[in-house]
């Protein structure tokens, strides 16, 4: 029986949201972001609306990862980390290589964002792969 553990999805969202916020703060790599980003909010404190939007995006990502982990029958945290790494390579690293080649994205900015996705996906994978569903959690059907 394949099921999603919604508590693990919420925990993965909260942890990842906090770690990513620190990552982009002055305590982390906020200075790199501020130096190379074209965005207006880089390095400054985002509005409540932006933060809520980012939380929703993180929640959505965590849910989708949980969905795929359940369908893939992830067997534990090591398997989950390996899958997280594959997903990062296929979906994040490739996009940033393209950004650097075709749109001249600055290398430090590309590395910063790709690094955030790596941390994000691996953290989510670790939580979702370790804390798997109990029988009464939500069932996943075929796509």
């Amino acid at each position: 029986m394949r099921r999603i553990n919604l508590w693990a999805v919420i925990a993965a969202t909260l942890v990842t949201f906090l770690v990513s916020s620190l990552y982009y703060s002055p305590l982390g790599f906020g200075h790199v972001w501020q130096e190379y980003s074209a965005g207006p909010v880089a390095g400054s404190k985002p509005s409540v609306g932006l933060a809520l939007g980012e939380f929703a995006r993180t929640l959505f990502l965590a849910y989708m990862l949980a969905y795929f982990f359940v369908r893939l029958g992830v067997t534990g945290w090591q398997d989950a980390l390996r899958l997280g790494l594959y997903l990062w390579a296929a979906f994040s690293a490739t996009q940033w290589v393209g950004g650097i080649m075709w749109e001249h994205s600055p290398l430090p900015l590309a590395a910063l964002h790709a690094g955030d996705w790596l941390v994000k996906i691996l953290l989510m994978a670790l939580i979702l792969g370790t804390w798997r569903a109990k029988p009464n959690a939500r069932e996943v059907g075929h796509a």
Binding site: L61, R71, A90, F91
Partner: protein
């Protein structure tokens, strides 16, 4: 470890590479309006970049073949749906983030996200149906 049809991976990567080239040729003018760097890159002949793009497509196709292989028989529509869901969860979310945090013009994000949707569905359909 699921069995992977490496020939299907090669064919899927090549098909996605061609589809992506057609996509950017068709929408190149629109893209050049919103990104000067792309317009500049269009003028230069740099074959090594195409090799890198092909390598990217090989990575994507290999990962999709692995994922779909682990899911068991899904059929062509099921595989295409997996491609679309992966796009929604892992590609579209990145472009939304780029628009919000990096001020990426929506036209640019839409063109790139569209390319990703086409290539993910195409690759997933090929590696899902040909096992």
């Amino acid at each position: 470890m699921p069995e992977i049809n490496y020939l299907a991976v090669l064919v899927a990567a090549a098909a996605a590479f061609v589809a992506s080239a057609v996509w950017y040729i068709a929408l190149g003018k629109e893209l050049a309006k919103v990104t000067a760097a792309f317009a500049e890159a269009q003028q230069q002949r740099q074959p090594w970049k195409l090799l890198v793009v092909l390598a990217e497509h090989l990575v994507i196709a290999a990962v999709l073949a692995y994922l779909i292989g682990r899911m068991g028989p899904v059929g062509l529509p099921g595989a295409a749906a997996i491609g679309a869901l992966l796009w929604l969860g892992l590609a579209a979310t990145q472009w939304v983030g780029a628009m919000v945090w990096e001020k990426t013009p929506w036209q640019l994000a839409a063109i790139h996200a569209g390319d990703w949707l086409v290539k993910l569905i195409l690759i997933a359909a090929i590696v899902g149906a040909w096992r």
